[in-house]
Symmetry: C2
Subunit: 482 residues, 2 copies
């Protein structure tokens, strides 16, 4: 039986091409428990692979047929119809097995299309890290799950208890009530980190639609609203969306190959900096990104005279004033701010001030908007995809913004899988025509990770950006006198 | 400047989709020189990667534009425009690093699409083989090179001299005349192995067209001829092409994932068997394949009552009577035989007799045909692709044949790259709609390799076929009293 697919989900299938894969990804790093090795973690995955049960979501296959009038829908396969050996794969790193080798592998894995004749996911178990850790790269089509849902799926198979064993693998279903029910497992929620921002831009497509259903009960109504909003942004008229973005090398057509990179920073260092600058943690994230983009473009003689504009998704809590945080759950009110990154200013302190003021004004404006107005703006969350659908493959002459900078809230407490500690969770997103770079951050209790996903043709090497991120944090600290 | 692309080459771009990648591949295994290790072979490739020269063929990018009226053509990039780090990649095998792990990796690599915004090739340097060897998997789009040309490209960068060093990598250009010219390197030709057969079916597309240009000076003339031939085959009327093939599980739609497997046999063993059976080596190859297909289908309750039909490309030497061998060079006359595999007969000896007689009759008939008639038949060489273009994605109700069994002549003498000996060269081909399995063999002076390339959904596990190949050779030997 073909279950219906939400129209916005099917957009991710319709809009996909070999140059524009539409899957999100996540790279998890696990430290084996004391006295154990990466090979033991692998052994536990092998044991799980011998099982024959697969969670419903991972059995769902996208299909369209004559009887569905060509509309995409979901088939749910039986357990035995899922070829687990196709979906869960073993990979290894060439020597020396460092982060360079890991990122090179994940870049390539993130650039290939999923097999549409099967459920739209892959999980890669990666051995050969010289530091003794074990890596798992997961790839899920955006039609099946958005970035936040994918993170929740993974976190849902982890435990806060480092001593728990015999845990299910992420693709396995939650055990049914057995003869002797297991004690309930307290699961740390994927709560928003206070003072942080945002969700992935593409998540907003789904979230906005779910919100849209609640508010207007009508999905189709979104499209005219989105066009109107885009149009205003493109013409440079009207409120918080009126900033116009310059053309940069980030805003052209893209190829199919990907390049990914990630860097972690101690959250405490960023918190301290935010406090001294009378800013939020998210303002610091934006300022670090701004300095990085400025440095990268400047080194290539490609820095435009006008400041770059970032699209920054923020949440709007129904209970109180807007926080700049989103956990991506259904029913959240989410909004989008266009932030002036002040890349034309050479002084990092001045850039931070501009960004802080721009975000403050934007949030104040959002507070004054009606739910319908916010919704229209939220529809921009689907813009990297939506723009292409609306404005054609080459994008508008002037992009409405230059880069998406977003954040998926990560787990707040240490999590474990069969005793192996989840050390880091790097989010990988979707570059599209006109948006060759995506910056997605995740935070947990003690660190914040910058995940960069780029088109390899536009950005053949992301390592200089990581270097700029390092430098920029140092520079900002000096600028506020730390 | 856009150079024109041969219409038949552009067919491989036009006919390509995510379920039907149109690249050929080859897996080479190298044994390091005495006293050296796989890491040393890797080191030599790394050194080559540091070079900035790229051979012309590997700088060619497919492109179509408004000015070319939407026709595909070739751009030739400058050396520095080729992102070698994208094309030449380092991979590693998970433990235990056996042939299972290697084939699993190569199956996956063979199933992903090439990036069309770049020259259409990839080379994967694979470490981690437990037996100390080093593997190189090469993937080239069929629009750029057919299987035989790809093998020639590789062999052209090897040497018969195990002591030679400082050799160029396969993607590097042949050195220009230097101030002190190097002594000419005697290069063993990719000569046809006497008594063996055939080339890859898809090679014939190009070869037939080149022959067609010579004979008729008109490429377009091929298409009506091909339709006529196909039509006769489908209706079951007329000469050597009149066999009708039953429907089997091999002849339906396919998915995008691939499964590859390979097995080597001592050529001497097969030669002896052929001699005792008054047959050719190629007859034995066909009989082994026939028994394998019978066993595989029988075990799945899927053996049709009618015998399976194989399409077998053979060469027609202009100098003498047809040999069942093709080296794939331009200007060769190539023909195609439809061989009754006698899979309905339980006795392996009877199957071999039927195959031998069928091939004899076919070759006799080919000898009597005019060049134009042979050419029309040769056009069938493009059938796995051509049929789809002519008859639609689902193929005809009854396939004109069930499987393509072909051979690319390999190097006749041991070859070396910087002292590392080329141990084996496994050919990987292109399954298509209606042809979920391809059997391509290569032979050298002392062994013959069966390379199986299948659709992973149709054939989730090829290992049983390898087992059947082993059994079948034993059984045939017993049948002739060896």
């Amino acid at each position: 039986m073909l279950l219906p697919m939400a129209p916005t989900d099917s957009l991710f299938l319709l809009g996909e091409s070999r140059e524009h894969p539409m899957h999100v990804g996540g790279l998890a790093l696990f430290t084996p428990p004391d006295g154990a090795f990466a090979a033991d973690v692998r052994e536990m995955f092998e044991t799980a692979l011998a099982g024959d049960r697969v969670a419903t979501l991972f059995r769902r296959r996208a299909r369209r047929s004559v009887t569905s009038l060509g509309q995409w829908g979901w088939d749910t396969l039986a357990d035995h119809q899922v070829d687990l050996g196709h979906h869960v794969r073993r990979d290894a790193l060439p020597r020396p097995g460092g982060m360079d080798e890991l990122m090179a592998l994940v870049s390539r894995l993130h650039g290939t299309l999923l097999d549409r004749s099967r459920p739209l996911w892959e999980m890669h178990l990666i051995e050969g890290l010289a530091d003794g850790r074990y890596a798992v790269y997961t790839k899920i089509h955006h039609a099946l799950a958005d970035g936040a849902s994918a993170m929740n799926l993974l976190a849902g198979s982890l435990s806060a208890d480092p001593h728990r064993r015999h845990m299910r693998a992420p693709w396995q279903p939650t055990p049914q009530l057995a003869a002797v029910p297991a004690p309930p497992e307290p699961m740390p929620p994927m709560a928003p980190a206070p003072g942080l921002g945002v969700t992935t831009a593409l998540d907003l497509a789904g979230t906005a639609v779910r919100a849209g259903r609640t508010v207007a009960g009508e999905v189709a109504g979104l499209v005219p609203a989105a066009i109107n909003t885009l149009d205003r942004a493109a013409r440079g008229t009207g409120g918080t969306l009126s900033l116009t973005a310059p053309h940069t090398l980030l805003n052209g057509p893209i190829g199919g190959a990907r390049q990914v990179a990630a860097r972690s920073f101690p959250l405490e260092r960023i918190r301290l900096l935010a406090k001294h600058a009378d800013a939020t943690v998210n303002d610091i994230v934006l300022a670090m990104s701004a300095g990085t983009l400025r440095g990268y473009l400047h080194a290539r003689n490609a820095l435009p005279a006008d400041p770059l504009i970032a699209m920054v998704p923020v949440s709007l809590r129904p209970t109180a004033q807007p926080e700049d945080t989103v956990s991506g759950g259904a029913g959240n009110r989410v909004g989008v701010l266009m932030c002036n990154l002040a890349t034309h200013l050479p002084d990092p302190g001045h850039r931070l001030e501009t960004i802080r003021d721009c975000m403050r004004e934007g949030k104040a404006a959002l507070r004054e908007m009606s739910p319908a107005q916010v919704l229209a703006m939220s529809a921009l969350g689907a813009a990297p995809l939506g723009m292409e659908m609306l404005l054609g493959r080459r994008g508008p002459l002037r992009p409405p913004f230059n880069v998406v900078i977003s954040n998926v809230a990560g787990p707040r407490t240490p999590l474990y899988w069969n005793g192996a500690r989840l050390d880091a969770l790097y989010p990988l997103s979707i570059p599209t025509t006109g948006q060759a770079l995506n910056i997605t951050c995740t935070s947990n209790d003690d660190q914040i990770v910058f995940g960069l996903t780029g088109c390899r043709r536009t950005l053949p090497d992301l390592n200089p950006m990581l270097g700029h991120l390092d430098t920029e944090l140092d520079t900002l600290e000096r600028a506020v006198g730390l």
